[in-house]
Point group: C2
Chain length 195, copies 2
DNA sequence: TGTTTATCTGAATGATTGGTCAATAATGAG
DNA sequence: CTCATTATTGACCAATCATTCAGATAAACA
């Protein structure tokens, strides 16, 4: 019937995501996106929509491709305690790695002025919600499996973990010392998993 | 000899700071600043410099007027344990208050693309450094006064507190539930001050 | 009071912003 | 082969961006 798209939508979205992630929404111009996505300006508008919609789609791409992999250890078919430990180790590795330099796309977008747009704010909150419920699920399993004693309510504990990880990402971005990451994760572990 | 400035430099800087703090560097236009500072466009350039310099001055204003007050409890002439407790209470109140909505100017600027400018990055790091050394000082005093046992090295502990606070600010901005703040601070307290 | 000197003002700079358009090219069903 | 449909293209739009300028203004001291 009609002409086909000459590019792969997901590939283009991946490139848009990386750019938004690195530079932030406002500092990323359509010109930058055209260059990075290697698509004509109008094709972006035609395929995805305006800049804000493109950000929303990039965020969803992040949720489905990046966040999902980070959360995966929590959902593994293993004892809850192991899941949690694997998750911490995964985060520790991620934070220490060179790619950890980018920080968290959710956090970055949350600080941008575009997050005052309800659609963006809602999506960001639901993404943090995904992470939070994965933590809550694993904590519930810990209780059921009686793996260790949890000192506080699950919600408090989940938020505590979330705070600590987000805080580490903040400091990771503005600090030189990566050496501390491991010790911070250790401290987090022993705080949460105190027998 | 010559004419005087018609406005108060510090007042103007305060207004610039609030705008940068709320909207972020890139989303704040010179037009916005002219309006908020109630000074003519050229007077801003003439008095402070270009947009980047104005940001640097706003950050220093934040350090001297906002951050200094938040750190003050740590430097009070009281037993270290009381200082730390007062500091936590202060942060708890700040985070729960309406003005806590703004979050942390350092954190926000750190996520902005302008933080890739060395001058900005250096200033941000030195500001976080101020906070960190205040925490280290108080922890050293805790040891000397034998107020309570500190489970980890001071540096680890200071970073832990820093992470937790920065993390709470991240979540505070993108969440609805302020109720959790108090419980988080409680958990932080008992983690740090474990006898 | 007159001269000096810095501040103030609104207009204007060229560059860049996000977004659009008409013309062209490819596609595949009839 | 024909033709309706959709993608691609580079030029184009008005608006806004940060920054600057010349001229008007007003304070300070001799």
């Amino acid at each position: 019937m009609a002409r086909k798209l000459e590019f792969d939508k997901d590939e283009a979205l991946q490139k848009a995501m990386l750019l938004f992630w690195e530079k932030g929404y406002e500092a990323t111009s359509m010109k930058d996106l055209v260059q990075a996505m290697a698509i004509n300006r109008f094709s972006i508008y035609n395929t995805f929509g305006d800049k804000k919609v493109l950000l929303l789609m990039s965020l969803k791409h992040y949720r489905d491709h990046v966040l999902a992999k980070l959360i995966a250890p929590l959902k593994a078919d293993l004892p809850a305690e192991i899941c949690l430990e694997n998750y911490f180790d995964r985060m520790s590795k991620q934070l220490s790695s060179a790619s950890g330099r980018l920080g968290c796309f959710i956090q970055k977008t949350g600080q941008s002025h575009i997050s005052s747009e309800p659609e963006v704010a809602d999506l960001l909150q639901s993404m943090l919600g995904d992470l939070r419920s994965a933590l809550l699920d694993v904590l519930a399993r810990v209780r059921k499996e009686q793996a260790f004693k949890i000192a506080y309510e699950d919600e408090t504990m989940a938020d505590f973990i979330l705070c600590q990880l987000q805080g580490m990402i903040v400091l990771r971005r503005s600090g030189k010392k990566l050496a501390l990451v491991e010790r911070q994760i250790d401290l987090l572990k022993t705080t949460v998993m105190s027998w």
